[in-house]
Amino acid sequence: MERAPDRKKTWLIASLLGNLGGLAVFKYSVFFAESLDALAAYLGYETMLVESLPEFALITPVGISFYTFQSMSYTIDIYRGKLKPTRHILHFFAYLSMFPQLVAGPIVRAKDLLYQLEQNTTISAMRIWFGLRLMVYGFFQKMVIADNLGVLVNRTFWNVDKEPTCIFWWMVMAAFSFQIYFDFAGYTSIARGLAKLMGYRFRINFNHPYQALSLREFWTRWHISLSTWFRDYVYIPLGGNRGAKWKGYANMWVTMLLSGLWHGAALNFILWGAVHAFCLSVERLTQWPQMLHKFILGRFIAWWIVWVQVLVAWVFFRASTTDQALTIIGNLFTWNFEGTTILVDKYFNTVVFLSIAVGVELWYAIKRRHYTKINPYTRTVAYDVMTMALLIGACVYFRGPAAEFIYFQF
């Protein structure tokens, strides 16, 4: 593109087609084939597209969603003139395939990593300590909180009809909310920690999303590398919220639906994106968070509403079919409190780990709010060492049953 600027559009299109083509073949071919088969059957025709797919198309390479987006961001940034292409082909492949973030992100931008690859970085003892600390924290998030919460979640989703009580389902969905958050955030922390040990710096991917006071804010805190990617390479090129109001909403819907589709080739993920798009539309239209902030407890109520929206959306993300998702949503909003009094006793583990998850987030909020008072105690070697020892002990003795990272499937 740099050598032939008059043909850079052609190169861009070729790159995008190559990347998206690979993604389409390996990740979405079955989904598209099934959808077309279903449509044809509805119209009275019989097609067997799924059976006609070659076998290699049925295997999804690990991390394809992540490195494909990284590759596209590199090409697009060069096209836009925001990045100069690297002269070192190994740097390019290192950027694409750096192992800490290869399988499940974060989606690193070329402009953030390439310059680091070109530098000779010294890895200080402090950096090693911070890297290890990040990794330990990541393992704690994943092994202790996410894996333990996953026990009840997985068991419940295996048989959704077993317990229809309202409170039980709120508890399960709360557990899943924290499971997916700490699972992914844990992975990211480990990836960032590993990168730090090698002398590289990755941006944070999660900024305590469940403390958001609006859904818009939630999306600036959740999976930041993906949401900013969609913002920069889909939403803004489509026009963002410039121009007619309806166009802004349409662009937002397209972005959220594509974000859902990125997560998986299934209707459920698209519906998950749609739920977020709908809630974001309502928020944009009514500006309800700003209105609520004017009242006492308004921020708390706003936080609660965001939490409910996100939690309900997670139902579509986790359910295996749309029917299952609708059944669960029905259970969430059917006032059936039978058996509530024994929930704590019956699901003691889940309650404890949910409390720990909430406690972890609460501790962060308290530290942030009372920064000056707490920092003298928490920014000490003793505190660090004690915390690390506690977290390592928790990882050893309170680890949940080993489970694959949730975002590995994407």
Binding site: N148, F348, N349, V352, F353, V396, Y397, F398, R399, G400
Partner: protein
Amino acid sequence: MFPSLPSSSMESEFFWANKSYCDKRFDVVFIGDSRIYRGINPVAVEEGLGSKFPLRVFNFGYSSVGLDTGFLNAGADLLDVHSAQPIIVLGVNPSSVADENMDNKHYTQEKERSAYTIWQRKYINPHLSHFNPTNPEMVRNELEGRKEGYFQVHYDNGWIASDRQPRDITKDLWLLERSFDNATIDLKYIDLLLKKVRQWRAKGIRVFAFRPPASKAFEAVLNRVSAYPEQAIVTQLKAAGVTWLPIDNRYNYTTYDGSHLVDTSASRLSNYLGQAIKKALLPEKTPLLYTKQGFEALATEDWTTVEQEHLNTTTYQGDYSAAVAPNAFSSTLQVNLGKFAVSSVKIKSQCWLRSKDSLPASPVVLVAEINDSTGNVLWQGQQWQEQCLRAHEWNCLQLELPNVPITPQTMLKVYLWNNGSETVLLDEVEVKIFALE
């Protein structure tokens, strides 16, 4: 110092590796399926045996075991060759003699593990198990003394102390109804078991056997779906040299699923078995009378004379057996029990029978009659059909009268009565009379 929490998977792996590749040797080995490895506490057996028989006991139970020769040999290999009293105790139930279980998948799986895996599980796991994970519920249950869910503690002696809360002894009955859909009790495996028992006996190994207790409903369903010929198997095992251990009050043991004993009941049963084995190991009392009719001579003391034409050269032992025609009686033992200066006796009788041609067992009865001056006071018969496995082969028929009060005029008669329409062959009729304390 720390609460003893239920075993982890690492401890389970060590347990099975240690059992499958055990370096130690023992005096007593219990062999059987999951009802053995959950139901027999070797320490409690040793306590039951007491100081008179300080024997080392091991539990060689595996899941879904079939008592095939290979598995039996593996269990017997754990006996100490220098043991003064080598003993094998078999847990026999319909499942352990079903053809479906003869491949012993669980045992085979353990034996097929790689050398590295075995080494890791035997030598590394015990150290890694110090890092076993726990969870808040387990800690709470331990502190409050609760047992919830599946509770298992693995012991080095081969026992898994088990319980499950809540207990439900009927939940799996529907599964049990289907358990013999594709399985049968193949008599060839019984033959192999009997052959193995005889080999052990010939080597001086005492062999005991029992049916592990389960819930009444469980046993009823299992007996029905398996058509388990229990009496026949028990009799033939006894004839081969097994000391059968009947379980008194067998439904008084608590199971958590109808089939497997909870840990406390397992210990109680084990202690009971230990005591029963101890009693059996004590020298047998000399019988007041021991008499045998082998039909080698026409006239034998205490027995009625045999007619020459009733002799047959197809024999269980020796040169002759007796052919008992339809609706006829065999040579009869007649003994005056009053000549023994005791108030009551135990009478054990047995004989060997087979059908003359390859016919099914006919209604032949081994009879013990007690008469006194008033007439017949007791008539007890044991049907051959109930104890016979294969009528065209020699099968043992046993009859026991555990407690017979006697007077000076009490007369005992023992004979075989052929109530069927086919001739049967009879050999080696034995009667033992013991004084009761």
